[in-house]
Amino acid sequence: MAMTEPEILAGLGEIVDEVAGVPADQVTLEKSFVDDLDIDSLSMVEIAVAAQDKFGVEIPDDQLKNLKTVQDVVNYVHTAEVSA
């Protein structure tokens, strides 16, 4: 069964904490990965890989570059899960 948006956000918070050491409670929907959370392009790849393991949703590089905010990733995962 597909996860709810809050569940995806919580899971993403754990991933960001693990990959980049940013506390999960700072990973809120309006945050930009690069500008607000200081996450670089390589860490974004690590987040995408971890998201695939956790949510079963693949985020290829050409999609990843369009995902600027936490909301973008949550939407992407949610949409992919619903359509899966």
Partner: protein
């Protein structure tokens, strides 16, 4: 009529290592004066603080000869004992002649088999495997294996995505037969492979081009596809990753190195980080890093070390070796 086969050796081992780096140190701060980058940016993305660049008159063969000469001297063999020379490189000075024959002659090795191998950053592991098999099969008695690169001549020094990464250098190993019957083989089975479908991810497209790399795609591949190769190399050698004294992967990017190291399950293993001061020297990086670790006394004789080369092609190869 049955043909005779060559008489081989029960196993092959590495007798000695040698490394060479050009004198010229190029720091991040110096790069930042000509391209839009910074010391902090380079250190955090790739882990490099400085790299070595060959002098204008310093050729690939010069560096390969220097590293190879050190390895032969350290092995206790004389040049006449070496009957095969393999140079792994993706930056030869010309398509022909190959580098290996030139280097052999300059080292006083008379009429050995000599050829170059191009598996880019995996080249040393490929060449080491071929050398081991040649000794075991009896095609050669002692093999000089060299990884050497002059990447600086293929770098666009205005491209900040590659100019910060690539560097020059050489590393070498002498491979010989296992002579003591109580001694196990010193070079484990290779696990190698390739995927030409990713050929465009790291490439020098023609002789007028510079090296280009899709950093994110390579990073994703390296951090997800390679730890199984590393684990399989341990499994095939019958070595528990927990017993590895060191892990010496190709020095591509410190974050890739650390990412793979975490996934192997080798908590005791010293992880090579020569990239910090050597940069990415492609096929030279593994023997260069290893020769320095041995020189500094960080890994002792008999220790099991996992090597893992990976890069353009894409090509990858890994094997466990025993420190001479």
């Amino acid at each position: 009529m049955l043909m005779r086969l060559a008489e081989g050796a029960a196993g092959a081992r590495i007798l000695a290592f040698g490394g060479y780096q050009p004198a010229r140190v190029l720091t991040n701060d110096e790069l930042a004066t000509t391209i839009d980058t910074s010391d902090e940016w380079i250190r955090s993305r790739v882990g490099i603080a400085s790299r070595r660049i060959a002098g204008p008159d310093e050729s690939l063969a010069d560096m390969a000869t220097a590293a190879g000469g050190k390895a032969v001297a350290a092995s206790g063999l004389s040049p006449a004992d070496v009957d095969l020379v393999i140079v792994a490189t993706c930056t030869p000075e010309a398509p022909i002649p190959n580098t290996a024959a030139t280097v052999a002659t300059r080292l006083g090795i008379s009429a050995p088999g000599a050829f170059d191998v191009n598996a880019a950053c995996a080249g040393f592991c490929y060449a080491l495997s071929v050398a081991s098999d040649a000794v075991r099969a009896g095609s050669a008695r002692n093999v000089l294996v060299i990884g050497a690169e002059k990447l600086s001549q293929w770098v666009d020094w205005t491209d900040r995505s590659t100019a910060i990464i690539f560097a020059d250098g050489a590393g070498a190993a002498v491979v010989g037969p296992v002579t003591d019957p109580d001694e196990g083989p010193g070079i484990g089975p290779v696990v190698w492979g390739s995927d030409g479908g990713m050929a465009d991810k790291i490439a020098i497209k023609d002789r007028d081009s510079f090296i280009v790399q899709e950093g994110q795609a390579v990073f994703r591949w390296a951090t997800t596809a390679l730890h199984p190769v590393a684990k399989l190399a341990c499994e095939r050698a019958g070595v528990d990753p927990a017993d590895l004294a060191a892990f010496v992967p190709h020095q591509a990017n410190l974050r890739i190195i650390e990412g793979i190291a975490r996934k192997i399950g080798a908590p005791q293993a010293l992880v090579a980080d020569d990239i910090v001061t050597a940069g990415n020297t492609s096929s030279a990086s593994i023997p260069l890093a290893l020769s320095k670790m041995i020189e500094r006394g960080e890994i002792g004789s008999g220790a099991a070390v996992l090597l893992l080369g990976f890069g353009a092609g894409i090509c990858y190869a890994g094997q466990v070796i025993t420190v001479p």
